[in-house]
Amino acid sequence: MKILASYNIKGGVGKTATTVNLAYLCAQQGWRTLIWDLDPQGATSYYFRIKPKVKGGSKNLISKKKIENKIKASDYDNLDILPADFSYRNMDIILTQQKKCDQQFSVLFSSLEDEYDYIFMDCPPSISLVSENVLQAAEYLFIPTIPTVLSLRTYEQLQKFIQQHHLTHLKLLPFFSMVDKRKHIHLDVIRNAQNTFNTLSTQIPYAVDVERMGIERAPIHIFAGQSSAAKSYVRLWDEIVQIIN
């Protein structure tokens, strides 16, 4: 079982779009895939038309460590969702009450070992006990990054945080997201950063088709499979699979 997470301290960078599309592609290849929508706002759940509601909320999930009966099937083969819940906004408090409070997610996932090949976590922005749990449990981190100077600084902050916390098992996979080829500043930043930051070679373009996911409420490949954005997600997933294996 491989555990992946889409994470960035910054908000609105394409974390959720990445999770939804990559997890869909992963499931399409026959891997039994689970997404955990960790954002109390429930964007991922929304894209899959699943109520952002988990029986018993964070408390039941974390302290009872029962996850199986909260999972919902998506409309697609091999792809299940552990939905968001509004109570996730208080998850930090519940996590604090546990022993080894930064390793609770790892414990939770251990019971899913036989059921899934891949677990994707879609994280809310910010650094919190929730995100520390994510960083402990995950093996690979997708980091969608908008090509601006400030975004790169945020990425450096994350690198530093990971170093300080000795999260040596984590493999960081930063890539550029919402790239607008017409913006010189984007191209400049990319040119300068690609070597220093060791970003993936695939870039996700800024595209209306990605925005349309909110209207269609489906992964991009369902309604715009031939679009260039859809194809770039396919390339991104191929590149990540290469790295993972």
Binding site: Q29, G30, R49, K51, K70, I71, K72, N78, D80, D117
Partner: protein, 524 residues
């Protein structure tokens, strides 16, 4: 609350019911996905390994659309695995990696072959909640199997139909509601999946397990020795014939393997069931079969090394594993050459003549004047097995820690003869007892087999290294990695030699001796 969903299926004896009318007043709105037509091709190995394990693999080709590879339990409705697929399934290592855990131990080295194909029409009804999320599905599946009428060019076909209510995880309540609805409409339900596969095989007159690689002989105790021996040899000939084509085409390595086992058994039966056929006949065919054994040996060796290769590689320290790779290419090439030679031999007139003379002998009525020919087979079997058993015990007892290797090789051969005899005649004895004794013998054989195999492997690897160097520049690293491998194999052989005395002690435990005596000498 989680609802246990086990009865998913509704019986639909024919294809006349109009589903859309039926669903006009469902409690939950639905969306109709237009009917898809598929060609469904079933796959299994030559010896039905999937079927025996209760599994099926089907390739579902959508007309003008995607192709899916689906793995199911034969009696289940939903797939265990389902992936878009663009090739034809062949070997387990080429299947999607997710499938390996389940299927590797079942299929092993065998190739998946197409069994038959049929048409499928699948109509899906998606039940949707307020958010237009699918919460349950109803699937109507019609399968049409077609066959040619005997001796005519006309086609005949049979239709099978099923209606399945498929639950979605986390939405079982909707399923329950719909289940009740269909039930009230008068649909009978059943927990069992429609056995499309079984019914189709029946319809096509295909018999599952028409080939089974384990020896499965039923000998009537009242038979005389000649009848029983002829029967054994005829069955072995059938096995050879069944594997001939696959061996020539090299479909997978198991054809040649089974082909060779049948050759060895034939030789063993000829020489070990003594006093049944005239000496000159026995000598003639022993020679012919020795020749067949020789012809097939080299290719089998290469097959074995190719199969062992990944284990070889993994036995090395990670840092030098990749150094071994040139050996693989070498083996692969060599296997191809040997296979080519074998193919030529098996298509030669000489081979054809050997088989024809053998078949003629087995099926022609001749006079049997030898001493044992007309004695009851039970007597002859008892005698032969008992004698061979005593020989094994005697040979084994003569082996000490410093006895040279030859003695162990001799013992290994005797054990093999004993094993074949016990297997030929196992139906004459109490099933559990003979099984238990074969198991006891097998443990000893494994030890002797290891001892010999390791030695042969070392010998071969040294030869390979020489050959590889003669052929072209081979990296020093590869030769060194092979050296490490040889060291492991020698250690393995040493280990097997050390374990021998303990294994043999177990083999001749008093209770085992008593069992052997009771079973094969009971009559005396």
């Amino acid at each position: 609350m989680s609802t246990k969903v086990d009865k998913q299926l509704f019986v639909m004896p024919d294809n006349t019911t109009e589903i859309t009318t039926l669903l006009s007043d469902t409690p939950i709105p639905w969306q109709h996905e237009e009917q898809h037509t598929y060609t469904v091709e079933y796959y299994d190995t030559f010896d039905w390994r999937l079927y025996v394990a209760g599994l099926s693999i089907e390739l579902q080709k959508q007309k003008q659309g995607q192709t899916f590879l689906v793995c199911k339990r034969i009696d289940a409705i939903t797939a265990i695995y389902q992936v878009p697929y663009t090739q034809h399934p062949d070997f387990v290592w080429n299947l999607p990696p997710t499938w390996h855990n389940l299927l590797e131990p079942i299929i092993k080295m065998r190739k998946l072959l197409p069994l038959f194909s049929m048409q499928a029409k699948i109509e899906l009804f998606h039940f949707l909640n307020k958010d237009e999320k699918t919460v349950a599905r109803l699937q109507k599946e019609v399968r049409i199997i077609t066959k040619k009428k005997k001796s005519k060019l006309t086609l005949k076909s049979k239709e099978m139909c099923a209606l399945m209510l498929l639950p979605l995880r986390g939405y079982e309540n909707y399923w329950l509601e719909l289940y009740q609805f269909l039930h009230d409409k008068g649909f009978k339900n059943t927990a069992k999946a429609p056995l499309f596969l079984d019914k189709s095989l029946q319809y096509l007159d295909k018999k599952p397990l028409d080939y089974y690689s384990k020896l499965n002989l039923t000998i009537d105790p009242s038979m005389d020795a000649k009848t029983a021996t002829l029967y054994i040899l005829q069955e072995l000939l059938k096995t050879m014939k069944a594997n001939e084509k696959g061996t020539i085409k090299n479909i997978d390595s198991e054809f040649l393997h089974d082909f060779r086992v049948a050759i060895r058994r034939t030789r063993s039966a000829l020489s070990q069931i003594k006093g049944v056929f005239a000496d000159n006949v026995v000598d003639e065919f022993k020679q012919k079969y020795a020749l067949l054994g020789q012809w097939t040996g080299a290719t089998r060796d290469m097959d074995v090394y190719l199969l062992k290769f990944s284990a070889y590689q993994q036995s090395l320290p990670v840092a030098i594993q990749k150094d071994l790779q040139p050996l693989y290419s070498f083996l692969e090439h060599k296997q191809k050459m040997e296979q080519k030679a074998l193919r030529r031999l098996l298509m030669s007139k000489q081979y054809h003549d050997i088989m024809e003379s053998w078949e003629h002998f087995l099926y022609s009525d001749s006079n049997y004047k030898e001493d044992n020919a007309l004695r009851p087979i039970t007597e002859v079997a008892n005698e032969r097995i008992w004698k061979m058993y005593k020989r094994v015990v005697k040979e084994g007892k003569g082996i000490y820690d410093d006895t040279p290797a030859e003695a162990l090789h001799e013992l290994r051969k005797s054990c093999k003869k004993l094993r074949y005899l016990m297997e030929f005649f196992s139906s004459l004895y109490d099933k559990n007892k003979i099984k238990a004794l074969i198991k006891v013998l097998k443990v000893l054989q494994e030890n002797l087999g290891d001892f010999q195999d390791f030695e042969v492997q070392v010998y071969h690897l040294r030869h390979f290294a020489t050959e590889m160097r003669e052929q072209r520049a081979i990296p020093v690293e590869t030769i060194m990695a092979m050296g490490v491998l040889v060291e492991h194999l020698l250690a393995g052989q040493y280990q097997a030699r050390r374990e021998f005395s303990q294994r043999f002690k177990e083999f001749i435990l008093i209770e085992n001796q008593t069992l052997f005596r009771d079973l094969f000498q009971g009559a005396k």
